[in-house]
């Protein structure tokens, strides 16, 4: 059977499936978010740089990828360095991976004091809004469209370099807060522009709030305060993603921000995290994107089965990778194997796997 959502054998649209799992009920099968970005360039036969130069390429890429892998979202995320590009930084392109932010826009205290929030519509970010608008026309309300923002607390890593930022955090708290204020205003404006363009939800990437990255006194008192303040101003449901960082010790803090979804690290046991998250917050994860590059299709199937077995029962689980972006090097064969396994083994009620 093919429903209006175009997926073979499905009894729910992707949106219904995702909303059901977010409500901690079991949908027809475990939703699958294959967070592919650069793979769209392969589909269109373009370089990564060329692919991200036009909104229509990303729209076409995302639609082809969803058709191919039959997964449950559209992910018009371009690249993380685009946010610093909007602030005036240079972007460095590679042929086989995501671009990096090449030049630092903050090199002195004065740069922080004079930092201005960029105009969203007049910047490179407008391409993302165009892509979201176009995808919304096609997806209507049947497929979730994910918007993405970097947290105000994590963005400075690209604005000024990690080492200088850590020193700022510990040694110049006043200046640190001044930087966070600018970033927070930008983050909220950028998130809400995506929501107004048609994004269903916003994924708030915040690696620095992970206990792997900043000390308890910092990530508990500062990172979560900023997250809570920021997330409450975003006009859509949100997901918090620590981009591979461990989550178990901070689940309660994440729940307190009011977010609906938490990205889980590949370094964590899904069953252990599920025990804390059950009926409280939906888990997104946690297939290992780096190991995925050398998996065989059989290994991919086993990993999918294992994840579903540990976290699928009762809903509240979206199968995905652990980082929020699948590496360029992961082959179509493996992505197809993941998709097929999710469709085969993810049907509710979950069988004994």
């Amino acid at each position: 059977m093919t429903n209006t959502n175009g997926q073979q054998g499905a009894t729910m649209t992707s949106m219904e499936r995702v909303l059901t799992t977010l409500g901690h009920q079991e949908p027809d099968r475990v939703p699958l978010f294959l967070l592919v970005t650069m793979h769209g360039a392969k589909e269109l036969g373009l370089s990564i740089q060329e692919y991200f130069s036009k909104a229509e390429y990303v729209v076409e890429g995302q639609l082809r990828l969803r058709e191919k892998y039959q997964h449950d979202c559209l992910n018009p995320f371009f690249y993380a360095a685009m946010e610093t590009e909007a602030f005036g930084a240079e972007t460095i392109w590679f042929k086989d991976g995501p671009p990096n932010s090449g030049s630092l826009i903050i090199r002195s205290e004065k740069d922080i004091r004079t930092l201005q929030v960029p105009e969203i519509e007049d910047s490179c970010l407008n391409k993302v809004l165009d892509a979201i608008r176009s995808l919304k026309k096609v997806a209507k309300d049947e497929v979730p469209i994910l918007g993405v923002v970097l947290s105000p607390f994590s963005l400075p890593v690209m604005q000024m370099g990690f080492a200088a930022y850590i020193e700022l955090m510990y040694e110049q708290p006043k200046l640190f807060h001044q930087l966070i204020e600018v970033n927070q205003e930008f983050c909220v404006r950028w998130a809400n522009a995506q929501v107004q363009a048609g994004a269903t939800a916003i994924c708030y990437f915040d690696p620095l709030t992970s206990p792997s990255m900043t000390a308890p006194g910092v990530h508990l008192e500062t990172g979560f305060r900023i997250a809570k303040e920021t997330l409450t101003q975003i006009e859509s449901p949100t997901a918090v993603h620590l981009a591979s960082g461990r989550t178990l010790s901070i689940v309660e803090n994440v729940i307190a921000t009011g977010t609906a979804v938490l990205g889980i690290s590949a370094m964590e046991d899904l069953a252990e995290v599920k025990a804390v998250c059950r009926n409280r917050i939906t888990m997104l994860g946690n297939l290992n994107g780096i190991e995925m590059c050398r998996w065989t299709p059989q290994q991919a199937e086993e990993k999918v089965k294992e994840a579903i077995k540990k976290a699928g029962a009762g809903g509240g689980f979206i199968l995905s990778d652990n980082h929020g972006e699948i590496p360029w090097q992961v082959s179509d064969e493996i992505l197809l194997a993941i998709s097929e396994a999710a469709h085969q083994w993810g049907k509710y009620p979950i069988r004994d796997l």
């Binding site: 991976g97 990096n100 370099g161 510990y170 792997s212 000390a215």
Partner: protein, 218 residues
């Protein structure tokens, strides 16, 4: 007088609280009783090792690892000029360098560099280079050990190309790698042709110390 183990425990506490003055007081107290080499071996290295283990088990955050290594590096600069750096003899045996391959994330390299300096090692810092540039520099400077830090997966994969270029040139340079991609895939270091992997900065120092010992015995 507090025991040696307590000294290390207290020193670690001061470091992870980013209490520079507190760390300096303990450092100075130990220095009054020991020479520089002993201070490194009995205070700095065990403290950095504990912090590295804390990073491994998730009890210590990366920002604390970074600040601790910077404080230790700063403390080493307080040593009066005439005293030679601890373990300086190692540099007579092997030439070392550190680099990142086409990666704009430098924190790992900075942490490892600080730990190496705090442990008394000297080395070349090549910064951010391509595989071809790094192969050339290794040849020009007759490097015995090259340390490569990677955050981006594509950067980790560049090590394959470096290995190919070094093999082509007949180089026997020992390649030691570390960084996030190697933490997420325990077999990746072998796949890219490295000789060893360090999961944290103190492991990198331990690998070098072990390599130096092996070299001095041959």
């Amino acid at each position: 007088m507090i025991s040696e183990d307590n000294e290390v425990v207290e020193f670690v506490e001061k470091l992870i609280e980013i209490d520079r003055l507190g760390a300096e007081q303990i450092f100075n107290a130990v220095r009054e009783q020991r020479n520089m080499s002993q201070t490194v071996d009995h205070l700095i290295l065990p403290a950095l090792e504990r912090i590295g283990q804390g990073w491994e088990d998730g009890s210590i955050a990366l920002a604390q690892v970074y600040m601790s290594s910077r404080i230790c590096e700063e403390l080493m600069t307080l040593i009066p000029f005439p005293e030679p750096p601890a373990q300086a003899q190692h540099t007579e045996h092997a030439r070392m360098a550190i680099a990142v391959l086409d990666d704009y994330h430098l924190l790992g390299k900075i942490i490892v560099s600080s730990c190496l300096r705090a442990s008394g090692y000297t080395f070349y810092d090549y910064g951010r280079v391509t595989a071809q540039e790094l192969a050339n520099k290794i040849q020009e400077d007759s490097i015995d050990i090259i340390l490569i830090s990677a955050l981006m997966f594509r950067s980790a994969l560049q090590i394959k190309e470096l290995k190919r270029l070094l093999d082509q040139a007949g180089s026997l340079t020992h390649i030691v790698v570390g960084g996030a991609p190697f933490r997420f895939d325990s077999l990746l270091w072998q796949e890219v042709g490295a000789d060893a992997v360090g999961t944290n900065a103190t492991e990198a120092v331990a690998i070098i110390t072990s390599y130096m010992k092996q070299r001095s015995q041959t």
